[in-house]
C-alpha cells in the first residue's frame, strides 16, 4: 500500500499542481490570493462538457476550447474588476475574488443543477502492474483515464510553463514584475500587458486543472473546483506564495503526504476522516518554521531599504552634530 499510496499521491499532485501554479502566478503579479480560482476550474470543467456536446467533438477539443475560454474569462475579470482595484492593497481584490467565486458557482448551479455530470468517456479498466506492494502484497494499479491522463498531461503543462517563465521575454517579464513591480515599471516593462498575460496563463491552468479534476473524480458538479481550493492554497503556501516552482513542490509534498496517511491509518487504526489533518498540519508547521515557504524568498521586509534608512538617519545625526559643534 505504500507504493500504491505514493502513486496515488503523484496522480493527485498532478491535478493540484495545475491549479497551484495558476494561483501562485496571480499572487506573484497581483499580490492577492484569488479565491475565484477554484470556481474558474469548475467553469473550465463545465465548459469542456458544453463544448464537447455542442461541437460534437472529442474531449481533447473540449479541453482546448475550455482552456481558451477560461483564459479569456480571466482576462475579462482583470479588465472589468481587478485592474480597477489596482493600488488599493490586497484586501479589496481578495474580497472581489470571493464575490466572483460565488457568482461563478451559483451561475453554474442555475445552468446545470447540482447533479453529477460526466464527460461520457467510458471508464477503462485499470492497468495492473507486475509490482507487488510490500505492505499489502497486492499488485499496484493505475487507471489510464483517472491516473495516467492527468499525470502525463500535468507533466507536459509543467514543462511548458517552466519554459515560458524561464525562456520567453514575456515569462521573464512576469517574473520581474512579480519580483519588483515598481522597478519593472521604470525599466519600461509593459506591466499592464504582463498582468493580462498572467491572468490568461492562470485561467488556462485553471481550466486544465478543472478538466483533469473532472477526469480524476469522474464527475463534475458545481463545487468541483472550490472543494480542492483549500488544498491548493495549502500547496501554494507550503511552496512559498508567489513562486510557481514552489507551488510544484508544495503540490507534490501535500498530495503524497496526504495519500501516505491511508496506509498509516489502516496500520494504526486511525479513522481515515482525519486525513485532512495531514496537508493542513504540514502547512501550519511550515508557516511556523519557515514563513516564506519551502522555495519562497525570505519575507525580508525589504532589508536594503531599512539599511539605507538607518544609514541616512545615522548620517543626519552626525551631520547635525557637526553643525552644532562647528
Amino acid at each position: 500500500m505504500v507504493l500504491q499510496a505514493l502513486l496515488n499521491g503523484l496522480v493527485e499532485a498532478s491535478v493540484i499542481v495545475l491549479a497551484a501554479m495558476g494561483l501562485s502566478l496571480i499572487y506573484g503579479v497581483k499580490k492577492f490570493p484569488n479565491f475565484a480560482h477554484g470556481d474558474m476550474m469548475t467553469v473550465g470543467a463545465y465548459f469542456a462538457l458544453w463544448a464537447t456536446s455542442t461541437l460534437r467533438a472529442g474531449i481533447v477539443v473540449g479541453l482546448i476550447a475550455s482552456i481558451i475560454f477560461v483564459a479569456i474569462l480571466a482576462v475579462v475579470f482583470e479588465l472589468l474588476v481587478f485592474s480597477r482595484l489596482e493600488g488599493r492593497g490586497p484586501v479589496a481584490p481578495l474580497i472581489a475574488s470571493v464575490g466572483l467565486a460565488l457568482i461563478l458557482q451559483n451561475a453554474l448551479r442555475v445552468a446545470y443543477g447540482t447533479g453529477q455530470l460526466t464527460y461520457g468517456v467510458p471508464l477503462p479498466d485499470s492497468w495492473v502492474s507486475g509490482v507487488t506492494d510490500p505492505l499489502t502484497g497486492q499488485l499496484v494499479w493505475i487507471n489510464p483515464l483517472q491516473g495516467v491522463v492527468p499525470l502525463v498531461f500535468a507533466a507536459v503543462v509543467v514543462a511548458l510553463i517552466t519554459f515560458i517563465l524561464q525562456y520567453t521575454k514575456l515569462g521573464k517579464a512576469m517574473r520581474a514584475t512579480s519580483d519588483n513591480a515598481d522597478l519593472a515599471r521604470v525599466t519600461g516593462i509593459d506591466v499592464r500587458l504582463v498582468r493580462y498575460a498572467t491572468w490568461a496563463l492562470s485561467g488556462a491552468l485553471a481550466a486544465a486543472g478543472g478538466v483533469m479534476l473532472g477526469f480524476r473524480v469522474n464527475g463534475i458538479q458545481p463545487l468541483l473546483g472550490s472543494s480542492v481550493l483549500l488544498l491548493v492554497f495549502a500547496a501554494v503556501i507550503l511552496g512559498g506564495i508567489g513562486s510557481p516552482y514552489g507551488a510544484m513542490l508544495g503540490a507534490l509534498v501535500i498530495s503524497i503526504a496526504q495519500n501516505l496517511f491511508f496506509p498509516f491509518a489502516v496500520l494504526t487504526d486511525t479513522p481515515v476522516q482525519f486525513v485532512l489533518i495531514v496537508p493542513f498540519g504540514i502547512m501550519v508547521l511550515v508557516l511556523l518554521l519557515r514563513p516564506q515557504g519551502l522555495a519562497g524568498r525570505p519575507l525580508g521586509f525589504d532589508l536594503p531599504p531599512l539599511r539605507a534608512e538607518l544609514r541616512k538617519l545615522a548620517e543626519s545625526v552626525s551631520h547635525s552634530w557637526r553643525r552644532l559643534r562647528g
Binding site: R175, V186, G188, I189
Partner: protein, 274 residues
Amino acid sequence: MTVAALLSAEGLVAGYGEVPILHGVSAHVDPGELVAIIGPNGAGKSTLIKAIFGLIRVTEGTVVFEGEDITRRPPERIVSRGISYVPQVANTFPALTVRENLEMGAYLLNYGISGMISRVNGAVVDALRKLLGLGGARRWYGRTVTKAYMEGRIEAVLELFPDLRPYLKTRTGKLSGGQQQMVALARALILEPKLLLIDEPSAGLAPRLVDAIFRRIQEIHRAGTGMLIVEQNAKKALGMADRGYVLEMGRNRFTGPAKDLLANPDVRRMYLGG
C-alpha cells in the same frame, strides 16, 4: 544658457499626496553634462528626480527633454524617450539572474516573436481606444531591432562592468551590495539613454565600493551620457560633477559649477562638513 539644454525642469511643485515637497525647483542638464544634486535630508533631492521621471504628481512647473514637454508623462514612456532611472533601493530584480536583469533593461527592444507580440498588443490597444472613444493617444510599444543588436548592447554594458561577467547566470539577490549596484547601473544603460537619473548611488555601500561605483559613473560620463545624480556624499559628488545644485527645504539654495560650490564658504560650512 546658450546651448540647448538636454533636460530642463522649471519651477517644479510636486510631492506625495496633497503636501508638496518641492516648492518650485528648477534644474537643467546640458548634453553630456554630469550634474550633482546635494543638500540635507528632506531637501527634496530624490523627489526632484522622481518628479522629472513621472513617478510622483507634478502640480506646477514643466519638464522639457530635448525640446519636448514630458511633464506628467508615465515613467514607461519617459524611458522610451531616452531617460533611464536608477532608484536608490530595490533597483534590481533579485530573483532574476544578472543576464535576465540586463534583458529586462532591454525590454523596450523588441525582436522576433516579442516584437510581433508587442506590435499586435499595440494595434489591439489602439483599436480598443478608438472603439471606446478614448482618442488616439498612441501608447508606446518599444523599438524593433535585430537580435544581434540586442546582444551587442548587453555585450557593450558588460564591457563597462566586466566584473559582472562571471555572474551572468547567478541570481542577482545573491550578489554583494556593490555588485548589485553595478547590475542596476548596467541595466539602466542598455537602452543607451541620453540622460541617466541616479538616486544615491553610494547608498549602503562600503567606502571602497563607493569609489568603484563613482569611477564607473565617471566612465559613463566620459562616454557622453548626461547625468543627474542625487548624492548624500556631497564632497565626492561635487568632486566629479561639472555642475551642482544645492537644495534646501524643497527650494534651490545654491547653483553653480561644481568647483565653485566646493570653494564656496557657505556651502562648505553647511553641507561639506567644514
